[in-house]
């Protein structure tokens, strides 16, 4: 029997790990992630979850423990935020290159300096090039569901998955969350079957020095290729993983009646302007779209769930079929010296697939500054006025900032 609990985003994440029968958890506390791992440690302590909880001295060690445990065939989990994620950076590359299906929750928070514990996507966006799949959530039910899906995706294609959700706005806000019956989860998510395991009785060397060239002096090494072959396979797997990601989501939908897709459309059909955003920003934008509709403006919202691998073709196809002249991309992150990461990637996707649309980038809610409906409406009006004035080359603009 499934049951409905009122949970914070962090506790929803912990319940999902319990449902997934995670075997090894290693984490270091950091705001706003801590309640997720605190509840997990309680599950382990009280015997509700048969797992090893490893207390570590840093996030770098947390990911290292996950890497080691995953290499022995264990289902592993960790969670972190901001500077903690940054400290993991080296091991994130390792986990992906070693093809370990580790699942991590990134509770999105601004990266210091200056010190700030509020929500911001800078932390996970800064890790986008490490080879991890990145999924963004809009509410607490989606956090729970996405973690369950993440294990199924990760273990099919042997890639690590980062499940990202906004600090405080989701991590500390209580919402009703349906907890799925354990038997139903077990049916959806079978035990992890590693393609190779570290075993003292059958010693192996994993992730050895792998040369630029292909070695021919040992036949068993030869078949793995050199470093470029290993990395090529990671890229090929990620670029062809859309099918798996969609299939897992579809199966989840059939079984549990909730399906998310690679991106979610809201009032996009007749829209002249479409807002593209991720996570709770996209949720807020749907409210703005409704008010603008009442005022006579047709505005849709496209909420991107899958940021890596980037669904360039899917987004470009959507844009091509859309009647909208203008896409408004709102980022809560910034590639310093240029613009928001989603804005850049979206424009590149349109260019590659020969789709011509106006794309206006905006930065909003950086460092947890409160995002409200009025600001999003203001953004739409700014873009509308720019288009009406024939200003087609509008550059990214920072909203609600003391200049």
């Amino acid at each position: 029997m499934s049951e409905k609990l009122v949970l914070s985003g962090n506790h929803a994440a912990a319940h999902a790990c319990k449902g997934a029968r995670v075997q090894v958890i290693a984490a270091y506390p950091i705001t706003p992630q801590s309640p997720a791992t605190e509840l997990l440690s309680r599950f382990v302590e009280t015997g509700q979850l048969n797992a090893k909880y490893v207390c570590v001295e840093s996030e770098h060690s947390a990911m290292t423990v996950c890497i080691a445990a995953s290499s022995t065939g264990a289902r592993t989990f960790t969670a972190t935020s901001a500077n903690g994620l940054a400290l993991m950076h080296e091991q994130l590359h390792w986990a992906a290159g070693a093809r370990l299906p580790i699942v991590m929750a990134c509770v999105n928070r601004a990266v210091a300096a200056p010190w700030n514990v509020w929500t911001d996507n800078q932390d996970s966006i800064s890790q986008r090039d490490t080879g991890w799949i990145q999924l963004y959530c809009e509410d607490n039910q989606e956090i729970y569901d996405t973690i369950l899906q993440a294990y199924k995706i990760a273990e099919q294609i042997y890639c690590p998955v980062m499940v990202c959700y906004d600090g405080y706005i989701l991590s500390h806000t209580l919402m009703p969350v349906e907890i799925i019956d354990q038997n139903a989860i077990d049916e959806f998510l079978p035990p992890f079957k590693p393609y190779v395991t570290l075993d003292p009785d059958d010693p192996k060397v994993l992730n050895l020095v792998t040369f630029p060239w292909i070695r021919h002096d040992h036949p068993h090494i030869e078949k793995f290729g050199g470093y470029p072959e290993i990395r090529y396979k990671l890229q090929q797997t990620l670029r062809s993983s859309f099918d798996v990601i969609e299939r897992v989501d579809k199966e989840f939908g059939e079984k549990f009646d909730r399906q998310y897709g690679i991106f979610k459309e809201y009032m996009c059909d007749e829209a002249d302007y479409i807002i593209l955003a991720m996570g709770s920003l996209a949720s807020e934008a749907t409210v703005a779209a409704e008010i603008l509709y009442e005022e006579g403006y047709t505005v849709g919202v496209l909420s991107l769930k899958l940021f890596r691998p980037f669904p360039a073709k899917q987004l470009a196809t959507f844009a091509k079929q859309s009647a909208a002249s203008t896409f408004i991309v709102i980022d809560r992150n910034l590639s310093y010296g240029y613009e928001g990461a989603l804005c850049t990637d979206f424009k590149a996707a349109l260019y590659t697939h020969h789709v011509q649309k106006n794309v206006h980038g905006y930065l909003l809610g950086i460092g947890g500054r409160d995002v409200n409906v009025e600001q999003i409406m203001e953004i739409v009006h700014k873009s509308r006025k720019a288009i009406e004035a024939g200003q087609l080359d509008k550059e990214t603009e920072w909203i609600n900032i003391m200049k």
């Binding site: 070693a98 042997y158 393609y195 010693p203 192996k204 994993l206 040992h218 793995f224 290729g225 797997t237």
Partner: protein, 102 residues
């Protein structure tokens, strides 16, 4: 034999090997100094027993044999000099590689 152990890995998606000699290639070429053992000073040779063996124990690359006298495998010895430092009889000295160029 080597092949058999990894044959069940059908999709070689990460870099995997089994413990073998010279997994990372012939690292002896990295050496700038070469350890030279003088058997007349080596405790094991003098007593004709497997005594001391600190060079064998401390070599981080496992390139020194547990034999009388200990033998250094120059195909893989990286020339770190730990054996020379640890040898209580000062039987091992580090010599510049340029002395050995052909």
């Amino acid at each position: 034999m080597e092949k058999d152990k990894l044959k069940n890995i059908e999709v070689p998606i990460s870099s995997i090997s089994i413990p073998i000699e010279g997994e990372a290639g012939r690292t002896g070429s990295w050496r700038t100094e070469r350890p030279i053992l003088d058997p007349s000073k080596c405790a094991a040779v003098k007593q004709n027993k497997l005594v001391c063996m600190l060079c064998w124990l401390y070599c981080p690359e496992g390139t020194i044999s547990r034999t009388i006298p200990p033998k250094i495998n120059y195909y893989y010895c990286k020339g770190c000099g730990i054996c020379a430092k640890e040898c209580p009889s000062k039987a091992i000295t580090m010599k510049d590689e340029t002395n050995f160029e052909e």
